[in-house]
């Protein structure tokens, strides 16, 4: 069943269109930067953008920083929100269940396919970011955000860690959207529900009055991947972000399973 879901994923034009759009945004940003040479001042705008003019090899991290706040979670919410609700509204869910595909098995297969999509998207964004960055800005001496120099191996390793961390951060969104997808038959509704939660979280993160709940907000530690490029690596927020996402994923997947396993398929 997992293979079937993966085949559905790669044969769906939407998958590739979404990934294409995800890579288009950092590419456009890179072209503007390369032609005008006007970099945002350090500390402003998306992470790393001020540094990439000097060194294109940091552009994968910058590209992740560009798609992370909005574009990537939207894509993940849409794909995950569609996972069960899309099958329900197309009518194929009833045929899968009476095929029979066990309901738990179906959810697991959907989850694996979403994880593959997220990893694929993040890797492609980082990969294209590297190509675009080195082509447009050239690769100079690498330095960490703390100013010390990094070897190429170190930089590659840290970029891979960042890719993994960003991918994992998206699983919280995916779990929420997937849970909502088992609740409603509307894929759009499920995606919007997950996005509403994200927007709320992102607003509250910036609100000092909400400081008491800040450590528990799903988007709180998303940008902690920047810490992976400090010297030495600042693990504290990355670790907390990882743990927090794991809790969200476990909670909403359990809810999705409990709901779907006992639900009447009436679509």
């Amino acid at each position: 069943m997992i293979l079937v879901e993966l085949r559905k994923l790669i044969r769906r034009p939407r998958t590739w269109l979404t990934i294409g759009l995800l890579t288009a945004l950092p590419t456009i940003v890179a072209i503007f930067l390369a032609t005008t040479k006007v970099a945002p001042r350090p500390g402003e705008g998306p992470a790393f953008l001020s540094a990439v003019l000097a060194n294109g090899a940091l552009y994968p991290a910058a590209a992740l920083g560009i798609v992370l706040p909005i574009f990537l979670p939207v894509a993940v919410a849409v794909i995950a929100g569609d996972s069960v609700a899309g099958e329900a509204s197309a009518g194929t869910l009833r045929y899968l269940v009476c095929r029979p595909v066990g309901r738990t098995r179906l959810l697991v297969a959907k989850l694996v396919s979403i994880i593959v999509f997220v990893l694929l998207a993040v890797v492609v964004v980082a990969g294209v970011g590297y190509l675009v960055g080195t082509q447009l800005f050239g690769s100079g001496p690498l330095s960490s955000t703390s100013g010390t120099s990094l070897s190429t191996t170190q930089a590659t390793l840290r970029t891979m860690l960042a890719v993994g961390y960003v991918g994992f951060s998206m699983l919280g969104v995916a779990a929420v959207a997937m849970f909502l997808s088992t609740v409603t038959d509307s894929a759009l509704g499920a995606a919007l529900g997950a996005l509403a939660l994200l927007v709320t979280s992102q607003v509250l993160v910036l609100l000092d009055a909400a400081a008491s709940v800040r450590p528990y907000l799903p988007t709180r530690y998303w940008l902690a991947f920047v810490d992976l490029f400090r010297d030495p690596v600042l693990w504290r927020d990355v670790g907390r972000g990882f743990a927090l996402q794991a809790v969200y994923v476990a909670m909403f997947l359990a809810a999705a399973w409990a709901n779907f396993a006992t639900k009447d398929v009436a679509s």
Binding site: V4, R7, R11, R12, P13, A266
Partner: protein, 318 residues
């Protein structure tokens, strides 16, 4: 557990489903004999589809038990449903893929479908439903009838022992309806039990051996078609000499429409002899049977899609 009752392909006892305060299915005891062609009839909204969904493990029953192919459902759904082909509330497929790719995905998704025979089984199923020459066209470009055929092909993929079909001829033209009927008969002769729901009485009358009628969630009739279509005790006589026949049959006449008369008589042969002996010319003569429509109208109320308060226009039951 005792040996499963293999003479019944589907057996339910007290099967009920409530949606909140609404009782959609109320204590239904289905008995579908193995090898039968069972027609499941009822007005719209009478609980047909909900019952069918419970048989397939899509909807969970509120009360009662279900046995399909001798095994309890939904507990044994993995082994039971692998031997069941189903078409529920219209076909469904991934629109951006062609029919063959859809069947491949569906086949690969569940148990009981060996990969090495997949290609051959798909080709055979497509040929059976008349879609073998459809090519690589995506399903979203299919007509309603083609989608229906594809849905049937999906149900036939694994040579099921039991076919559960919801309105299988929906969207088909008369030629297509005839083809599907022939196909179902052929499968049934090969040993497949067929359970089909429909509101097309003519379709059920032409195809089925056993009939169940559900009305407002309750199973109101369940019997063999031959038993339901019993004689009414009337003989219909067509004659150009209707006036003379009337005089002769004084008191035994039930009804008349122009040169067609309904006579209360147990023995059509003796009636015929009597008429001919009296010089009444007989153009045609047959013992009248109750039609399935009479049976169904007598036991059902109107469908839930009718909102008006009045009663149904009285049927012309003679």
């Amino acid at each position: 557990m005792t040996a499963p009752d293999v003479t019944l392909a589907i057996a339910t006892t007290g099967l009920s489903k409530r949606f909140g305060a609404v009782v959609a299915v109320d204590a239904v005891d289905l008995a579908v004999p193995t090898g039968a062609r069972y027609g499941f009839l009822g007005p719209n909204g009478s609980g047909k589809t909900t019952t069918l969904r419970m048989l397939l493990g899509l909807v969970f029953a509120s009360a009662g038990s279900i046995e399909v192919l001798g095994q309890p459902m939904p507990r044994q759904s993995r082994s039971v449903l692998a031997q069941v082909g189903a078409l529920v509330e219209g076909p469904a497929a991934y629109g951006h893929l062609c029919g063959r790719a859809n069947l491949e995905l569906m086949d690969a998704a569940g148990p009981g479908a060996p990969r090495r025979t997949r290609r051959a089984r798909i080709a055979a199923a497509l040929e059976r439903v008349g879609l073998d020459a459809v090519g690589r066209r995506p399903v979203k470009a299919y007509s309603l009838g083609m989608r229906q055929r594809l849905g049937l092909a999906a149900a036939l993929l694994r040579a099921p022992r039991l076919l559960i079909l919801d309105e299988p001829t929906n969207g088909l033209d008369p030629q297509g309806i005839h083809e599907v009927r022939e196909l179902l008969l052929e499968l049934n002769y090969g040993g497949t039990t067929i359970f089909l729901s429909s509101h097309l009485l003519a379709e059920v009358e032409a195809l089925c051996t056993t009939v169940g009628v559900v009305d407002r969630g309750r199973l109101v009739v369940q019997d063999e078609l031959a038993a339901l279509r019993r004689l009414t005790g009337n003989v219909v006589v067509g004659t150009p000499d209707a006036e003379r026949a009337l005089a002769l049959l004084d008191g035994r006449l039930a009804h008349r429409e122009a040169d067609r008369i309904w006579v209360q008589a147990d023995d059509p042969a003796r009636l015929n002899a009597e008429l001919v002996a009296a010089g009444v010319r007989v153009a045609d003569l047959r013992a009248e049977r109750r039609s399935l429509e009479d049976v169904v109208l007598a036991v059902t109320t109107h469908g839930s899609d009718r909102i008006a308060g009045g009663t149904r226009i009285a049927g012309s039951t003679r």
